[in-house]
């Protein structure tokens, strides 16, 4: 177990170094990076001063080491529009994004499992066709367009759901204010339902297809046939024999899906004016506030890497064939 953990940790650290290298390279690609950190109407003297202050006049390898050192301390410079450390701005928006991503993931995984299993059990029947058609649609629809369509129909036409904003749940929870957090929860979910559907539909569709094919494969295995021939009820065969093994590819996918959902959240938050990292990044792009974009992207990548590490550990626990 410890060897596995150490090996995976080491891999994660190498990947993290790679992440800082890629983000450092991205900064250098447009020429002198000083221009990314000063306002557009800065004078030549101001630019020169900023270049020296930011250390962009030093050799590249020194700049990179200093970049990594600063990044380790969460220092990505000051936000050009908020006039405070970029990481602080990003961390303030973080709880809302985590809430939305987890809710989307829960929704997507929670619905894809029964849909995928049902489609596999009804293979070739109209129910299977219907679910797979829905899955194909779900994989082709742009998430932000789905958000816009939901705003038009469920928000503005039927007036069932709010079309923007959120009610914080994690923020008071992190501050230790449990009563506010839990009294906010129902309204928080109510505000999140449309963005979460928009973000999660692709994942729901992809996983439903994955679970269906995984179940179909497992249902043809000898041990399932043996279980059936022993007279065990179909329900028990499906739940206790088939599903146990059909889980595995899904668990592996969850970590990757989380990253995909984070990407989706960035765009969908903009549609719903949802006050998370996505909207922050969108505004930062428009204001060319590079420190905020960098801090957001790196933070999301780190979360993604850590989650994948956790998922790998869970996978290793679930599948005894994976040596710990």
């Amino acid at each position: 177990m410890w060897t596995f953990l150490a090996r995976r940790l080491l891999q994660s650290i190498i990947v993290l170094i790679g992440v800082t290298l890629i983000s450092f390279i991205s900064l250098q690609m447009g020429g002198d990076p000083t221009f990314l950190f000063v306002s557009e109407n800065a004078s030549v003297e101001e630019i020169a001063r900023a270049r020296e202050a930011l250390g962009f006049d030093r050799p590249l390898h020194v700049q990179y080491l200093s970049y990594v050192w600063n990044a380790l301390q969460g220092d990505f410079g000051n936000s050009l529009s908020y006039r405070q450390p970029a990481m602080d701005v990003v961390l303030q928006a973080m709880p809302a994004t985590i809430e939305l991503t987890f809710f989307s993931l829960l929704l997507a995984i929670g619905l894809s499992i029964p849909l995928g299993i049902y489609a596999a059990l009804k293979r070739g029947k109209p129910a299977d066709g219907g679910i797979m058609t829905f899955a194909m649609l779900g994989q082709s629809i742009p998430n932000f367009w789905m958000g816009i369509m939901m705003i038009l129909f469920f928000g503005l036409y039927l007036r069932w759901f709010p079309i923007s904003g959120n009610v914080p749940f994690l923020e008071p929870l992190f501050e230790g204010d449990f009563s506010t957090a839990f009294s906010n929860l129902p309204r928080s979910l109510y505000y999140m339902i449309m963005p979460a559907i928009a973000v999660g539909t692709y994942t729901l569709a992809r996983n439903a297809r994955l679970i269906r094919s995984s179940m179909l494969e497992v249902l043809q295995q000898d041990y399932v046939r043996t279980a059936r021939s022993k007279g065990i009820s179909e329900r028990r065969v499906v739940i206790h024999h088939a599903m146990r093994n059909a889980w595995l590819p899904v668990v592996t996918m969850i970590g990757l899906e989380f990253g995909f959902l984070l990407g989706g959240v960035v765009v969908v938050e903009t549609v719903f004016s949802y006050p998370g990292i996505g909207r922050l990044v969108f505004n930062a792009i428009n204001q060319r506030d590079i420190p905020v974009v960098q801090a957001s992207v790196i933070l999301l990548a780190v979360i993604f890497i850590l989650l994948n590490l956790i998922v790998d550990l869970i996978y290793a626990r679930l599948d005894p064939r994976v040596k710990l």
Partner: protein, 318 residues
């Protein structure tokens, strides 16, 4: 040292290579015929033909110049007549530009970015995969770890990070989206190359003294084209979605080039006043195009997978 078998003669190698080529052709023909029996793959091909036609002949089909602003004709509903006898079939936007004309022009960008990015990513990934799988060793380690690092980023974030610095532009978006795809191809090609490099016909080519370049690109590559086309088809769909998302965020092509994503972005400001046509039509265009590539990918995969193919053929149609 293991005993080596006698080197095959030139005629033997040519015969083996000829048989492999004719087998491959037969397989491809059978796969194509089998794809024609799949209803959804046909639907995909049909939609794609229409989108390609529109992308090529858009300038002749469009009733208006897609960038011509006419403040008197702003936010017209679909079907409303504008100045003269011309009708705005899909309505007009906030600057009085014709939505239909912009939609027709937008097909160009989506298809161009989708196909060009896959060409970039596919070429890079295939070369990396061939080299990685054939030579193994440190070169394999370095390439695959580079891929791992790239996959550690949610892709859209990586694209945002580079495009924010590089600035919007057709070439930039094609390069960023293309480079983002290389590892998908590299992994598949590497796995296939690993198994193919031990095959007799590859050994024969080696014994004949063929150059490494020839072995990689003339002997191994043609045998792994099939799975690559399946992946490419799905990937074009993904890239078109990413391009639309980046255009929506303002990181796509410059604002004077109409794209479906940027049209959707502009529609956001007019949702509250219920100017639905500005949002519905570009989104439908993206949906149909992406779906056509997904249908095509499904059809190709089923047709190229012998197990699936026998199921399709036994059922007649899918």
């Amino acid at each position: 040292m293991a005993a080596t078998s006698p080197a095959p003669s030139s005629a033997d190698t040519q015969a083996v290579s000829g048989m492999a080529t004719s087998y491959r052709r037969k397989e491809l023909r059978r796969a194509f015929q089998s794809m024609l029996t799949s209803r959804w793959a046909l639907v995909g091909m049909l939609i794609l033909l229409v989108v390609t036609f529109v992308a090529i002949f858009g300038p002749w089909l469009a009733p208006f110049d897609p960038n011509r602003q006419n403040i008197m004709m702003r936010l017209l509903e679909p079907g409303e007549a504008g100045a003269g006898s011309l009708t705005y079939w899909l309505g007009s936007d906030q600057l009085g530009r014709d939505v239909l004309s912009r939609l027709l022009y937008g097909a160009r960008v989506s298809l161009l970015v989708g196909v060009a990015a896959i060409a970039v990513g596919g070429t890079l990934g295939t070369i990396a995969g061939l080299v990685s799988g054939y030579f193994g060793g440190w070169i394999d380690d370095v390439l695959m770890r580079l891929g791992d690092i790239q996959l550690a980023f949610p892709f859209i974030l990586l694209a945002i990070m580079f495009l924010v610095v590089l600035g919007p532009g057709l070439v930039n978006i094609i390069l960023v989206l293309g480079i983002g795809q290389w590892i998908t191809y590299a992994r598949i090609v590497r796995a296939q190359t690993l198994s193919l490099r031990e095959k007799e016909y590859v050994e024969a080519a080696r014994a004949m003294g063929d150059s490494t370049f020839s072995i990689l690109f003339r002997t191994i590559l043609p045998n792994i084209i099939a799975p690559l086309t399946v992946i490419a088809s799905f990937n074009v769909a993904g890239v078109i979605l990413s391009e639309a998302a980046l255009s929506f965020l303002g990181l796509g092509v410059p604002p004077d080039v109409p794209t479906w994503g940027s049209m959707l972005s502009e529609s956001r400001d007019h949702l509250l006043s219920n100017k639905w046509w500005m949002a519905v039509f570009p989104g439908l265009a993206i949906l149909l195009t992406v779906m056509s590539f997904n249908f095509l990918g499904d059809g190709l995969r089923d047709a190229l997978d012998p197990q699936q193919r026998s199921v399709i053929e036994s059922r007649g149609t899918k």
